[in-house]
């Protein structure tokens, strides 16, 4: 039973955060609305878990809770993959910076030695 309270308390907390961010004009109304719908769904699913079974059965999964776990794993895989690609991109950018600095320093040294020769 406690899990219900934890989920609802977290949903209320998340909603209040979203509301504050909307108030401070950090997010638009549309984003606030989407978050609102999402957390309300979470709350209703935790209050009436049986309703999720209907959607689950429709998709060929026995229980709503199982569907939730399956979906979570798929989404997590997707996010991890996205993060890996993003890391790869950042890696490349770091290399670009390191390379640029290495070449710039050598350029300066080259000019310096020319001047010395003159």
């Amino acid at each position: 039973m406690y899990i219900k309270f934890i989920i609802i308390a977290f949903a209320v907390f998340a909603l209040s955060r979203a509301f504050i961010r909307y108030k401070n004009e950090e997010i638009r109304f549309r984003e606030f609305f989407i978050w609102g719908v999402f957390w309300l769904l979470v709350v209703s699913a935790s209050l009436y878990p049986k309703t999720t079974d209907i959607i689950a059965k429709y998709l060929g999964v026995e229980r709503g809770a199982d569907l939730f776990v399956y979906l979570s794993i798929i989404i997590l895989y997707f996010i991890v993959f996205k993060v890996l690609l993003h890391l790869k991109k950042i890696d490349r950018e770091i290399t670009d910076v390191v390379r640029k600095i290495a070449l710039q320093i050598s350029d300066k040294e080259d000019n310096g030695s020319h001047e010395k020769k003159k």
Partner: protein, 223 residues
């Protein structure tokens, strides 16, 4: 024709001196890219007469190689030879490896340790390379006898076309892919490879092949 040798180096203070000295007898300029070494690699290379570029962070062999290549191209060199810093290659092969480019027969020359009969290659290394060669033939269609050999020669024109995005060891596979994709003329030349205890310790482990495949996969996905 101005020839530059590019030597990526990471913690190679034991061998870099000798490598730079011997290379200077064969090429116009030796460019050592110190890839964030924690030892005296840069200083030793500089004292031996090399031009030293420094990566202030370790970015991997591929990244270091292409920093050196960029420098060689910017300073107007016509041919770039890539050479390992651990002393496994023989500078006497340089004449041989740049000859096909000087004669304008090819754009890229790849060193092959299997075309040189004198080489004795450890069994495990041979087995891993056989798999890598098969993989390369399948993915690029290049009929080559060796892969991931750091001894190569490129014409400046070819290098302007080759784009390398892999910072780590996978760059060697990427170079071959680029040769195939940009339809560059290439050939292989047998080169001596000395497997010393030092070079074997510094060299790639068999288990790294999975890392290379993974890097190649991620590289493809993030284009």
């Amino acid at each position: 024709m101005k020839v530059a040798a590019v030597v990526p180096a990471f913690n190679e203070e034991k061998t870099i001196n000798h490598v730079v000295h011997t290379l200077l007898s064969a090429v116009d300029v030796v460019v050592v890219v110190d890839d964030g070494s924690r030892d005296n690699t840069a200083k030793k290379a500089e004292n031996s007469g090399a031009i030293v570029l420094r990566h202030f962070l370790n970015r991997g062999q591929g990244a270091a190689l292409f920093t050196g290549i960029r420098y060689a191209l910017n300073s107007g060199h016509d041919i770039v030879v890539t050479f390992d810093a651990d002393g496994q290659h023989d500078e006497k092969d340089i004449e041989k490896i740049i000859a096909p480019i000087l004669e304008n027969r090819v754009d890229v020359v790849l060193g092959s340790r299997f075309l040189e009969k004198k080489n004795s290659i450890p069994v495990l290394r041979r087995a891993v390379l056989a798999m890598a060669i098969l993989f390369t033939r399948m993915t690029t269609g290049l009929k080559i006898t060796d892969t991931h050999n750091g001894f190569r020669a490129f014409s400046a024109d070819a290098l302007e076309k080759i784009q390398i995005r892999q910072d780590k060891m996978a760059h060697a596979s990427e170079i071959l892919e680029e040769i195939s994709k940009k339809k560059l003329r290439y050939c292989e030349i047998g080169v001596t490879v000395r497997y010393t205890d030092y070079s074997r310790k510094k060299g790639q482990k068999a288990s790294q092949s999975f890392k290379i495949l993974w890097d190649l996969f991620l590289g493809k996905m993030s284009k």
